[in-house]
C-alpha cells in the first residue's frame, strides 16, 4: 500500500484534461513502426511500452480506417443495395482483391494492427489460462468469418456504404478482442 507520489496526481490531472479520442498525425507512423520491431526473450510485463505502442498502432489504424470509411460513406448514397451474391470466403489482404483502393488501404491498416496484436498474444499464450485462450480464439474465428463474409459481399458491391461500414466494424471488434487478450494478466 502506498500513497501516490505528487507526480502521479499531476499525471491524473493532465490525463483527465485530455480529450477521449484523438487522431495522431500520419507522420508518426514511421517511428511507431520502428518501435514495434519484435524483441524476443523478455517477459511480457517487462515490455509495457510495447503494449502501449501496439495500442497506439491500433488507435492510429482505427482512426485512419474510420476516416476512410466515413469519406466513403459521404460519397456513397446511404441506401443499402443488395450484393449479387454474398459468398463467404477467407481472402487475405495481401492477395489482389477486387476492392476499391481506399478499402484496400483501410483493410491493410487493420491487418497490420491485427498482426501486431496477434504477435503479442502468441508471445503470451502460454501464460494465459487454456479456457481464456479458447474463448479468445473462438471469438476471433467468429470475427474472421464475419469479416470474410462482408468482404466477399464488398467485392461484388464495392460502392455499398452500409456494407463498408459493417466491414470496418467487424475488424474493429476483432482488434478490440485481440487488444484485450494481449493485455490480460498471467494465469487469467
Amino acid at each position: 500500500m502506498s500513497e501516490h507520489p505528487s507526480s502521479d496526481d499531476r499525471l491524473d490531472e493532465l490525463t483527465a484534461a485530455l480529450p477521449r479520442e484523438i487522431a495522431p498525425p500520419p507522420e508518426l507512423w514511421g517511428s511507431i513502426r520502428a518501435e514495434l520491431t519484435p524483441r524476443r526473450g523478455r517477459a511480457w510485463w517487462a515490455s509495457g511500452w510495447r503494449l502501449a505502442a501496439a495500442g497506439l498502432v491500433v488507435a492510429v489504424s482505427s482512426s485512419l480506417a474510420t476516416i476512410t470509411v466515413m469519406r466513403l460513406r459521404e460519397r456513397a448514397p446511404m441506401v443499402a443495395s443488395a450484393p449479387r451474391a454474398a459468398v463467404p470466403a477467407t481472402p487475405r489482404a495481401t492477395e489482389a482483391p477486387p476492392l476499391p483502393a481506399q478499402l484496400v488501404s483501410t483493410e491493410q491498416q487493420y491487418v497490420r494492427s491485427v498482426e501486431a496484436l496477434r504477435r503479442k498474444l502468441d508471445e503470451r499464450r502460454d501464460s494465459l489460462a487454456p479456457s481464456t485462450v479458447a474463448t479468445v480464439e473462438r471469438s476471433l474465428r467468429i470475427a474472421d468469418s464475419a469479416i470474410a463474409e462482408a468482404r466477399a459481399a464488398l467485392e461484388r458491391d464495392p460502392s455499398n456504404a452500409v456494407l463498408a461500414a459493417l466491414f470496418a466494424s467487424n475488424y474493429e471488434r476483432k482488434i478490440d478482442v485481440l487488444r484485450r487478450a494481449a493485455e490480460l494478466a498471467p494465469r487469467t
Binding site: M1, S2, E3, H4, D8, D9, D12, M78, V79, A80, S81, A82, P83, R84, A86, A129, S131, T132, T135, V136, R138, S139, I142, A143, A146, E149, A150, A153, N160, V162, L163, A165, L166, S169, N170, R173, D176, V177, R180, A181, L184, A185, R187, T188
Partner: protein, 306 residues
C-alpha cells in the same frame, strides 16, 4: 434374511456418513488453505484505488466514510501487497493480490469499502465482481467472471471476456465490452456496448446517446428515448429486436445487406433492396423524438410495439 435386510438398510447410511465426513474434511482443508486479509486506510473522498486481485469474488461497496477497508480471505500462498498503515488521508492506493496458481485464483473473496466518490480500477481473472453504490469512476476488467454494477458511477468501463456484465444504474458515461459474455444495461447519457457473440439487452431505462453492436449476438432494445436521443445499433448476423412505444416520434433509418426487416411498430412497410436482397426502413419523426439508426449484414431487424 433379517441380517441381509439390515445390512441393506444401514449400508447406504454409512456411505452417506462417510461422504459427509469426506466433504467436511475437504471443506475444512479448503478453509485451512485460505488466509485472512484485512487492511484499512484513511483516504480522501475521491481517492483513486487500484486493485488487482486473483480471488473468487470481489465486492466493492461505496460508503460514507473517508476510508478504504479491505477484508476477506485469499488462497494461501498468494502474494499480498496491501501496504502498511497510513498517517494521512491517501489520495491513491494500489492493492495487489496474486494467487500462486490459476486454480487458487478462483478461491476466496474480498470485500472492499471505498468512499462513494472514489475512483476504482479493478482487474481480476475469474472473480465475480459486484460493485454497489460507487458514484465516482469505475473501471472493471475481468476474464471469466461476471460483473454486476448496482448504482450509477459517473464513468464506467466494464470489460469481460466470457463473463456476463449487468449494469442496473444509468451512468453518465459507460463503455461495456465482452467477447462471449451477455450484457444487460438500463441506459445512460453516453453509452456504448459491444460484444462478439454475447447478447445485449437494453431495457428498463432511458437512452440518450447510445450505441450497441455485436457480431453474432442478439441485440434487444426496449429503452425509452430521451429528447433528441441518438441510438445506433449494428450487427453482422445477430437479430436486432427494437421495442418502441406506438406513439413514439422517433426517426428510423434501418438497412440490411441481406437480412430481413419486420415492422410491427408502425404501418410503414420496409422496402426490398435494388436487386431483391437486403431491406431498408425509413420513417420521419419529430425533431426531438430521437433518431434510431440500425445496420445489419444478415441479421433480422424487428420493430415492435409493447
Amino acid at each position: 434374511m433379517i441380517r441381509f435386510a439390515t445390512r441393506r438398510r444401514y449400508l447406504p447410511s454409512a456411505r452417506v456418513a462417510l461422504a459427509a465426513l469426506l466433504a467436511l474434511a475437504t471443506h475444512a482443508g479448503a478453509l485451512q488453505a485460505q488466509r485472512k486479509v484485512w487492511a484499512a486506510y484513511p483516504a480522501t473522498p475521491e481517492v483513486s484505488v487500484r486493485l488487482f486481485a486473483s480471488v473468487g469474488a470481489v465486492h466493492v461497496i461505496g460508503w460514507d466514510r473517508d476510508s478504504v477497508e479491505v477484508s476477506g480471505a485469499v488462497a494461501s500462498g498468494s502474494k499480498v501487497a496491501l501496504g502498511g498503515p497510513q498517517t494521512s488521508a491517501a489520495r491513491g492506493l494500489k492493492l495487489f493480490i496474486e494467487a500462486p496458481t490459476e486454480q487458487a485464483g478462483r478461491e476466496g473473496s474480498l470485500t472492499m469499502h471505498v468512499p462513494r466518490r472514489a475512483r476504482v480500477w479493478l482487474k481480476t481473472g475469474s472473480a465475480d465482481v459486484t460493485v454497489t453504490d460507487v458514484t465516482g469512476g469505475l473501471d472493471v476488467n475481468v476474464v471469466g467472471g461476471s460483473i454486476s454494477v448496482h448504482g450509477s458511477p459517473r464513468e464506467l468501463r466494464a470489460e469481460s471476456m466470457d463473463g456476463s456484465v449487468t449494469i442496473d444504474g444509468a451512468p453518465e458515461w459507460m463503455r461495456v465490452k465482452t467477447a462471449t459474455g451477455d450484457i444487460t444495461l438500463r441506459g445512460g447519457e453516453d453509452v456504448g456496448a459491444s460484444t462478439i457473440s454475447g447478447t445485449i439487452d437494453a431495457r428498463g431505462g432511458e437512452a440518450d446517446h447510445l450505441k450497441l453492436e455485436s457480431t453474432t449476438g442478439t441485440i434487444r432494445f426496449a429503452l425509452t428515448l430521451a429528447r433528441g436521443a441518438t441510438v445506433e445499433m449494428e450487427t453482422h448476423s445477430g437479430p436486432i429486436e427494437i421495442q418502441l412505444p406506438r406513439k413514439s416520434a422517433a426517426e428510423i433509418d434501418a438497412a440490411t445487406v441481406t437480412g430481413q426487416i419486420e415492422n410491427g411498430w408502425s404501418g410503414i412497410k420496409p422496402e426490398v433492396g435494388r436487386e431483391g436482397r437486403g431491406m431498408t426502413l425509413t420513417t420521419s419523426g419529430g425533431q426531438l423524438g430521437g433518431r434510431i439508426t440500425v445496420r445489419s449484414f444478415k441479421g433480422k431487424i424487428m420493430f415492435k410495439a409493447p
